[in-house]
């Protein structure tokens, strides 16, 4: 039986440890956006021993490059981008305290393994539902790397942002389990 959890960031170890693949999560509070180009810069900073533009401990990164906001709106369309492009960088951020990643699509085995080691989870938001996802985003401001355009790091204030747990801290994978349940012989 799956459960629905409501969390406000920053997340604690005990928050994410109780989650299981298939559970639903409604996230509120401050989260950060980053795509491949921003991740590369974050990892460069870590390798040089320099501070990151935001506190990463207990935090949530949403893999998204939003469309521009119309006047009077917080943000444009803001659905998840495909997560595997962030796989080379994700374990380093988890080692620094990142607790959850929101995206869509499969993760590499080493990323799933890092989630069990560092107690972090991977959540899927509905890909291609950019207009719907934008409704949960109440504030948005560029935090860093404005030169990257849609790939800049944004600070988002979200209210009940909906997502589903794909990879939990025990190594379960909804993408594997869900497909096995519905696969039919050809």
């Amino acid at each position: 039986m799956t459960s629905t959890y409501r969390f406000t960031t920053p997340l604690q170890d005990e928050d994410v440890a109780q989650l299981r693949a298939g559970d639903k999560v409604l996230l509120s509070g401050v989260i950060y956006t980053a795509r491949d180009a921003a991740h590369k810069r974050l990892i460069d900073l870590i390798e040089k021993g320099e501070p990151l533009p935001m506190e990463i401990k207990g935090q949530v990164i949403y893999y998204v490059g939003p469309s521009p906001a119309r006047p009077g709106r917080a943000i444009g369309a803001a659905g998840p981008t495909t997560s595997y492009r962030m796989d080379p960088y994700a374990p380093t951020l988890m080692a620094k305290g990142l607790k959850a990643m929101i995206g869509k699509g499969k993760r590499a085995p080493e990323v799933i393994e890092a989630m069990t080691r560092y107690k972090a989870v991977y959540l899927a938001a509905t890909g291609g539902a950019g207009a719907l996802m934008s409704q949960a985003i109440k504030e948005a401001s560029i935090l860093a790397y404005e030169d990257l355009g849609p790939e800049a790091i944004w600070r988002l204030v979200v209210n009940d942002l909906p997502a589903i747990v794909v990879n939990d801290t025990l190594g379960n994978d909804l993408y594997v389990e869900g497909v096995e349940k519905y696969r039919q012989a050809s």
């Binding site: 495909t82 699509g105 890909g127 849609p150 869900g178 497909v179 039919q184 050809s186």
Partner: protein, 279 residues
């Protein structure tokens, strides 16, 4: 000879890309409704509900259906009895794209491949020009997302692979893509032609309205059979498991070289956006 003014091309291209990004087509709305009815998984049904709600919000609030407002593909069918006046054809299309993405608050998603520097206005458009008889002038605008494009494949098979081999490659491509291209998808398949034409046929196959049968009965039968196989994979909506992995599979075929059997699979996410206009 009928004159086609570049200013009209600019205006039309601009309107088409804005409409495509905000107004999901009636064929796709019907396909999403059908998918929701057919889907066995409760989580999968939830996904269809979200996608229908997303389409409604996009339409009513003028928020893009997806934040990936796509690479701008433009297909032009130009009557040989038409004459372009008042400017440069390519520049007129690029200007239409530029204005749509700027004034429509659409995301600019085109960059230099090495430096990754964004071109800033979603140009250059990719333009395909077909010359047709008469004096018609038809423009189709296709904002194509990157996530589903990344999961697309081209196979230069030996002729001995046969239709069974082609079908196997199509199924494997969709299976291995799993959740990445945002299923439920529409799958475009090109068979035959040359290396580049095969891929283009797969792309053009995506432009046929979903629900409209293939006019070739042999291809129509293949489409139905292969789609049924895709939906046995279990991938389901968003790859979370389910019985509707793809809403449609479309095939376009061309003759090929006696040594070749090219098969291209172009995956399109559920936000299958395209708008057409006659000038």
């Amino acid at each position: 000879m009928r004159d086609i003014a570049c200013a009209d091309i600019v205006r039309t291209v601009k309107q088409l890309f804005m409409d495509a990004n905000f107004l999901l087509g009636d064929d796709m709305l019907a396909a999403l409704e059908k998918g929701r009815a057919d889907e066995a998984s409760p989580v999968g049904k939830d996904v269809f509900d979200q996608l229908l709600e997303n389409a409604r919000l996009a339409r009513e609030e003028k928020i893009p259906i997806c934040q990936d407002c796509g690479y701008a593909l433009v297909f032009v069918e130009m009557g040989q009895e038409t004459h372009i006046v008042g400017g440069d054809f390519t520049e007129a299309i690029n200007e239409g794209v530029r204005q749509a993405y700027q004034e429509g608050y659409l995301r600019k998603s085109v960059c230099h491949p090495f430096t990754r520097r964004n071109t800033g206005d979603n140009t250059p458009a990719i333009i395909y020009l077909d010359m047709v008889p008469g004096d018609s002038f038809r423009i189709t605008a296709v904002p194509k997302g990157g996530g589903s494009e990344n999961m697309s494949k081209l196979f230069m098979l030996p002729p001995s692979a046969g239709l069974q081999g082609a079908k196997q490659r199509v199924i494997e491509t969709v299976r291995d893509a799993g959740p990445n291209p945002c299923p439920p998808t529409v799958v475009g398949v090109g068979i035959g032609g040359t290396f580049e034409q095969c891929a283009l046929q797969a792309k053009k196959a995506l432009l046929r309205p979903v629900g409209k049968p293939n006019p070739d009965p042999e291809l129509d039968a293949l489409e139905k059979g292969w789609l049924a196989e895709l939906n046995k994979l279990g991938v389901g909506p968003q790859g979370l498991g389910g019985t509707v992995t793809s809403m449609a599979l479309h095939i376009r075929m061309l003759p090929c070289h006696i040594a070749s059997f090219p098969v291209a699979v172009n995956i399109q996410c559920h936000a299958a956006r395209h708008k057409e206009a006659e000038l």
